[in-house]
Amino acid sequence: MSDTHATMGHVGGVLEASPFSIPSKKLVMWLFIISDAVTFGAILFAYGFLKNASPDWPEPFKFSPSILNVMLMTFILVSSSLTMIIATRAAKGGDKVSAIRWTFITVASGILFALLHISEWFKLIGEGVRLFQNPWGSPMFGATFFAITGLHLTHVIGGVIALSVVALGYKRGRYNADDIEIWSLYWHFVDLVWMFVVPMVYLLNVAH
């Protein structure tokens, strides 16, 4: 039996070396992230198109409470990236208890962010903003606002679920430190997308 067949014997196929010296799961996550970045890029460009082409685009966000709320949400999300880094480092260093604790602190931050975001939505809905109408101007404002922030919120909720599943699996030995690291990439990406959503959707529409 040749060496190749000996390698195949148990696994059932020839395994090529990873092209970038990273686990395949990590490469898949990177590919997902760049495709998702392009998706967010596309909807932010579409938003810019509509805002530029609409003469009566509303500027409804007052410093208090909207911008203050956004500042708090930004602080929470960026801080959750830091806690996720600490979790990843702990997992890589073999400190399982600390890794799980910091991952769940990240999850709690994500839940808090989502709750603040949903409360912001309800406030705007209470002021009369709907998908295709609002009391201030261009009816497309609601569609773009809810589409962009809704897609981001979906990513946050997805990340909260994924991190919880991976942390629990890591605790039971089903997943390893690589899985924590891979999902931390996703979480950081969600944080970075928010860096573009805040100026485009909120800060360019502040009420002066």
Binding site: I34, G48, N52, R89, G93, H188
Partner: protein
């Protein structure tokens, strides 16, 4: 430098990056209240956001520690696609100037 020292210095670097990203978020809010013309404001805001994203991808996502081939496979293609999307602006301005009943 032993492993503990190395991990500690990396965490210090991460905290510095974290503070920088938060500070840049503060800069964006200051910019928002400076009454700059729309296009200038957009460019400044996006410039700050790009710096934040670059810091996050480089340090938080550790892309600088990956092989150069991975960086070359991911970054130029993404930037190229995002730049190509800028083609929409001409149509957006056309709509602005050809809008019926514009004053």
């Amino acid at each position: 430098m032993n492993t503990t020292d190395r991990m500690s210095s990396r965490l210090t670097a991460d905290i510095i990056v974290y503070i920088c990203i938060l500070a840049l978020s503060g800069v964006q809010i200051v910019l928002a209240y400076q009454h700059a013309p729309g296009t200038q404001l957009l460019v400044r805001m996006l410039a700050v956001a790009v710096i934040q994203a670059a810091l996050g991808v480089t340090y938080f996502m550790h892309l600088r520690e990956e092989q150069r081939s991975l960086r070359l496979a991911l970054i130029p293609a993404t930037i190229f696609v995002l730049l190509m999307m800028n083609m929409i602006w001409s149509d957006s301005f056309r709509l602005e100037h050809m809008r019926p009943l514009i004053k």
